[in-house]
């Protein structure tokens, strides 16, 4: 089926070239990082994780979000999603690829990555994260590919796939749970030390992932002869609406606990992000933008008339995707490290090369995503005609 990714029109090739340019720039910058060290980023002794790890965290969510089309179809026999499960699985594959790449570019000694397997350490959450992420990647490749191939050949997919499909559902939950455990089990990091971190991650995942899927569906309908379907898009939109509401609710729960208890260790990080701390305010406009975007997203997706208007829905999805990205991709990590364990404020601002490398990874992911979607859509077009 791979050959289907090679046959495309001018626009397709134009888009892929556009992405490759960013991949190339990112790669060159990464070579510079390999040569100099992570010092070309804005990271410091106090904020030792930043943009890479934040994007990784966000994308684990997008990957897990793919399960929101798989689960209703296979567990609730919601037939309509049968058409789009493949899109969810392929979205998961490309997101996990980005995640793994972000981890790799974040390592100080990337050539030693295999030490994680040579010296397996079950007490380290990172060890488990590596396992669940790679497992999820493999599961989705096997499932997505075989189901699509079966569809192309006009037969039912092989029986042995069924247990794997069922397994992939809790597995999707596990990747984001384990990713949250990276943070929420660390003593002395008040911002992350909350049992609601994993649920919070999941809720934002189930908003961001399906929002991206809706956007993809709308684009696919425009550029191809395959229509993912209005009902499918509307069902996804309801999922997004619920998830974004829950996400904001969870966040407000955190705010209540921190500010009603008035425990400085928990309040200070939220203060730093939303009003600034000791005169450091770099994140304040971003965090408010994120909050407002998510509220706009709630309004647009909850009100039936605006949700049912696909143009408005597209705007809502963009808004929600951006809002959750700022929340997790900017604030979540930097906010957890500031103030530092010694209660110093040493602001972290991502550097330009760092942003360039991150853009390169995103471009790589969208390159793979486009190719995979191209294959899926071509198969759908074939079988339809």
């Amino acid at each position: 089926m791979l050959e289907l990714a090679l046959k495309g029109g001018k626009k397709y090739y134009g888009w892929m070239t556009f992405l490759m340019v960013f991949v190339g720039i990112g790669f060159l910058l990464y070579l510079k990082q390999l040569d100099f060290g992570l010092g070309i980023t804005g990271l410091s002794r106090d904020t030792s994780w930043g943009f890479y790890i934040a994007n990784f965290t966000f994308l684990v969510g997008v990957a897990a979000g793919g399960v929101m089309v798989v689960l209703p179809y296979y567990l609730h026999d919601y037939k309509a999603f049968g058409k789009v499960t493949i899109l969810g699985e392929f979205l998961a594959i490309s997101s996990v690829l980005m995640c793994v790449t972000f981890i790799l570019v974040d390592l100080g000694q990337p050539t030693r990555i295999f030490n994680v397997f040579l010296y397996p350490t079950p007490n380290s959450v990172l060890f488990w994260d590596t396992i669940v992420l790679n497992g999820y990647l493999i599961l989705n490749i096997i499932i997505g590919w075989n189901v699509l191939e079966a569809e192309r050949n006009g037969v039912h997919y092989q029986k042995w796939l069924k247990p794997l499909i069922y397994l992939s559902i809790p597995w999707a939950i596990s990747i984001h749970t384990v990713t949250a455990y990276l943070y929420c089990g660390l003593p002395g990091r008040g911002f992350w030390m909350t049992a609601i971190l994993a649920p919070r991650f999941l809720s934002s995942a189930f908003a961001a992932g399906p929002a991206l899927l809706i956007l993809c569906c709308l684009i696919i309908r425009r550029v191809s002869n395959f229509d993912p379907g209005r009902e499918q898009i509307q069902s996804l939109a309801k999922i997004v609406a619920y998830a974004i509401c829950v996400n904001v609710f969870f966040f407000l729960c955190e705010v209540f606990v921190a500010f009603y208890s008035q425990i400085p260790e928990h309040m200070d990080h939220i203060k730093y992000l939303f009003v600034g701390l000791h005169g450091h305010t770099a994140y304040v406009p971003w965090m408010w933008a994120s909050f407002i975007l998510m509220i706009i997203g709630i309004i647009l997706t909850v009100i039936p008339t605006s949700r049912k208007n696909e143009g408005v829905l597209a705007v809502a999805c963009v808004v929600i995707f951006l809002g959750t990205w700022i929340d997790k991709g900017l604030g979540m990590i930097a906010g957890g490290f500031t103030p530092s364990p010694l209660h110093e404020v040493n602001e972290y601002i991502p550097s330009l090369p760092e942003i360039g490398i991150a853009l390169g990874v995103w471009a790589m992911g969208f390159f793979v995503l486009t190719a995979l979607f191209k294959i899926a859509v071509s198969v759908k077009e074939e079988t339809r005609s």
Partner: protein
Amino acid sequence: MDSSRRRILRLFGISALALTTRPVLNAFAKEEQTTGAEVVIKEGAKSLKARQWAMVIDTRKFESEADLEPLIEACHKIHNVPALQNKNHEIKWLWGTHYHNAFPGKAARFLAEKVEHRPFLVLCNHCENPPCVRACPTKATWKREADGIVFMDFHRCIGCRFCMAACPFGARSFNYRDPRPFIKETNNKFPTRMKGVVEKCNFCAERLAVGQLPACVEVSNGALAFGDLYDPASEVRELIRTHYTIRRKQILGTEPSVYYIV
């Protein structure tokens, strides 16, 4: 050859047994620890031994940053700690800070003037229950069973910095760039580090192995004491018995082995 075969065996063993019993895992962990320690430090006949090394810092003996300088200098010099200008890239094993930074949450609104202006030495606490060790995915940092030192293997560290996020004391530094050009005088008896790995105070394990006390203790004119926490007759235990001491962020349960007399 031998060691690579053992690695592969271990990999197979763990994947088969990963979810079974704890003793199995402990056995693997133990083997790991002894091999790691042997590689880095050979114990001599004169080596000092303890169940858990500990330090007592008599902060009353330090009045200004200048009083800390010789200690920091001694540590950083023998351990090839680079002097980097960019604050983001800074590496420190031992440094001075204010009371409210060393003990956030413990500082009263009004403090004794002396305490408020006194510098406090901070370093890795060689915690008895170290979260950094729990977090490391490669066992590049581990707690030595023999003497409780939380040790680093610079050659195994993948630079993921999970240990830095896990340490609630900011004790760890990362080599954001090649540190070698920034070492004033290289001490050939101690390894220099490459870019991309984490480092921190090692309680001068290399000196203990040849019967010497840690460098900072040696030049402290008695302000720092060092000894076995589990030996009731040790100097540190004597000081702890006769003075009121505090430890950093005791509430987190990491059980720091550095005690402060305030």
